[in-house]
């Protein structure tokens, strides 16, 4: 087994996903297959190889840090599932 039931529960919790029992069983099989396959890279001796952080083609070009026009508050809120007086609204965070 490349991934255990306890491990899958732990990563699901980290990723903020909840899994049903049958979903979990299928994922154990599918992720197990995928992880077994990607372990193929262990056949290579990589001790002397540097890690590529990205495609390593060009340096990242940062623009000057200056204020420019962006979204208006209305635009920023237009897709909010719940809003209240110009703010995003969420279930109560602070317990009494």
């Amino acid at each position: 087994m490349y991934i255990s039931s306890a491990e899958i529960e732990k990563i699901a919790q980290l990723a903020k996903l909840k899994l049903g029992q049958s979903e979990k069983q299928e994922l154990l099989r599918q992720l197990g297959d995928i992880i077994a396959y990607v372990e193929k890279i262990n056949q290579l001796d990589l001790s002397q190889v540097p890690a590529a952080d990205s495609a390593d083609i060009e340096p990242v070009n940062l623009r000057q840090d200056k204020i420019e026009a962006g979204l208006t508050p209305q635009q920023a809120l237009m897709n909010a599932p719940a809003k209240n007086k110009g703010f995003f609204s969420v279930p109560k965070v602070i317990k009494k």
Binding site: I3, E7, I8, K10, I11, A12, L14, A15, K16, L17, K18, L19, L27, Q30, L31, D33, I34, I35, Y37, V38, E39, K40, I41, N42, Q43, L44, L46, V49, P50, A51, A52, D53, S54, A55, D56, I57, E58, V60, N61, L62, R63, L71, Q75, A76, M78, N79, A80, P81, A82, F88, V90, P91, K92, V93
Partner: protein
């Protein structure tokens, strides 16, 4: 006026010679889209917007005041933001998301007078190789509706293949432009990493993906690329490399070209008919003066493993933003914020997206990071070096785009690993960041299109397009198409 089967350059001539109007053209595509609903290529059709744009453009054409892409009616993958229209990414979690801004590629297309006709269906967030992983239902291949159109830019490839638009934009993270282009018999170009701004492209795996055109001809791909390419201050990864006039370059007579055939791409897993079709075209190129040699890309067999570790890791990070707070789907009735996150993400994401988020979280988690993610980055470096060495010997590489032609819908959907393996020849270009293009290369005995892939060194799109143009002429002459 019959526009059926015409590429953009042919349509452009009709428009500029006033033999057809943009309104006629747009109406033609709108009725084609209506008649082709069974392929499920579009998530939204912008009928009113497209017709209004066409009328305004017709007035400007009368005054000879039209941009370089006038007469281009383009379909756009639904992960590219277009202001005031839906951008769903094929996901329930963004099913009602209306974009408040334009992606840079959209700004550039509109400035050049292209008309956006609609947003195309896709595998959710670009995760899939068959067009089946969409909340809005599977996309069907117009050449055989029982077969997959490829993925993830499935709707974009179908729009072009079935003449529902003049051309389309797709995005390619591991083959998502080239593989559906191959399955549907059209041209698909993934530019060099950084060549085209990704500002406004919804992120899946930021170190791998690129926006590019899907078209009926190589010349059309050149015409669109020269408009959408170039540095953009809104995308820190966009390159400052100069953009050439690709349309002129492909018309120029190409110098003697050196073509490499990577042995690892002509292995037993490739359908014999595909190998034969591609090698036949290469033989013709050789007769026309190209130098051809077999070369090796020795780490090819490790590309899929490295790709699925890196892409999943980046996806797990990029998709953390969907939390039901600022935009997107929120599950009703959660008692506290933790439950709201859990319920919104679990109900909003589809199976494949959850699978990749979990895989990505696993390979990045403490105790596994060094063994998986770090090692995958090292393999990525080796793949990059393979290509660098190859381009010392030759100007471009020719290989199959996919080992098979279009598979059946449902054939691989329960076996994600088998689905991933269909990307074996497309992911290396993303890992190395090099440009690559799929060009139609005839059909197999079932009448299904074969894709020939050309790969070139970083920022060498001109060699890609020149070679693609030569391949296209050979295929047409041989009536392989």
């Amino acid at each position: 006026m019959n526009f059926e089967g015409l590429d953009y350059l042919a349509i452009r001539r009709l428009i500029f010679q006033r033999k057809a109007s943009c309104r006629q053209l747009t109406n033609h595509y709108l009725s084609q889209i209506d008649a082709a609903k069974k392929f499920n290529a579009f998530i939204s059709v912008l009928k009113k917007y497209a017709l209004t744009s066409a009328e305004l453009l017709d007035q400007r054409l009368q005054k000879s005041d039209a941009g370089p892409l006038a007469g281009l009616v383009i379909a756009v993958k639904d992960n590219i933001n277009f202001r005031d229209s839906l951008s769903t990414c094929g996901s329930k979690i963004l099913a009602n998301y209306v974009s408040p801004y334009n992606a840079t590629v959209i700004e550039k297309l509109l400035n050049a007078d292209a008309i956006v006709i609609g947003k195309t269906n896709m595998d959710e967030f670009g995760m899939g190789s068959s067009g089946e992983n969409s909340f809005f239902g599977p996309v069907k291949n117009p050449l055989d509706p029982n077969r997959a159109a490829g993925g993830s830019s499935a709707g974009s490839a179908v729009a072009v293949a079935a003449s529902l638009s003049t051309a389309a934009l797709g995005s390619d993270t591991g083959g998502s432009i080239r593989q559906p282009a191959a399955f549907c018999g059209v041209v698909g170009l993934k530019p060099t990493y950084g060549r085209v701004s990704r500002f406004g492209l919804v992120a899946f795996a930021s170190s791998l993906e690129e926006i590019g055109p899907i078209t009926k001809s190589v010349a059309d791909a050149a015409a669109i690329l020269e408009v959408i390419a170039g540095h953009d201050t809104k995308d820190a990864t966009s390159a400052r490399q100069p953009v050439k006039n690709y349309s002129d370059i492909i018309r120029a007579r190409s110098r003697k070209i050196r073509i490499g055939l990577p042995r690892e791409y002509f292995v037993a897993e490739v359908t014999p008919e595909i190998k034969t079709a591609i090698l036949e075209v290469v033989k013709k190129l050789e007769q026309q003066g190209a130098e051809v040699e077999w070369i090796s890309l020795p780490h090819t067999e490790f590309a899929i493993a490295a790709y699925y570790i890196i892409a999943a890791a980046e996806a797990s990070s990029n998709l953390a933003r969907y939390d039901g707070v600022r935009y997107g789907f929120r599950s009703d009735g959660s008692q506290d914020i933790e439950q709201m996150y859990l319920n919104s993400r679990s109900d909003g994401f589809g199976e494949e997206v959850k699978r990749r988020i979990l895989l990505g979280t696993f390979v990045l988690s403490s105790g596994y990071y060094e063994n998986y993610y770090r090692r995958a980055q090292k393999v990525r470096h080796l793949i990059h070096l393979d290509f660098k060495a190859a381009f010392q010997q030759c100007d471009c590489l020719i290989a199959p785009t996919v080992p098979t032609t279009a598979f059946f819908l449902g054939e691989k959907i329960r076996d994600p690993l088998q689905m991933y393996l269909s990307d074996v020849f497309t992911v290396p270009a993303n890992l190395a960041g090099i440009p690559a293009m799929s060009v139609p290369c005839g059909t197999d005995s079932n009448g299904l299109p074969i894709g020939l892939q050309i790969m070139a060194d970083h920022f060498n799109e001109e060699t890609l397009l020149q070679t693609g143009n030569a391949v296209e002429s050979i295929v047409k002459q041989c009536k392989l198409h």
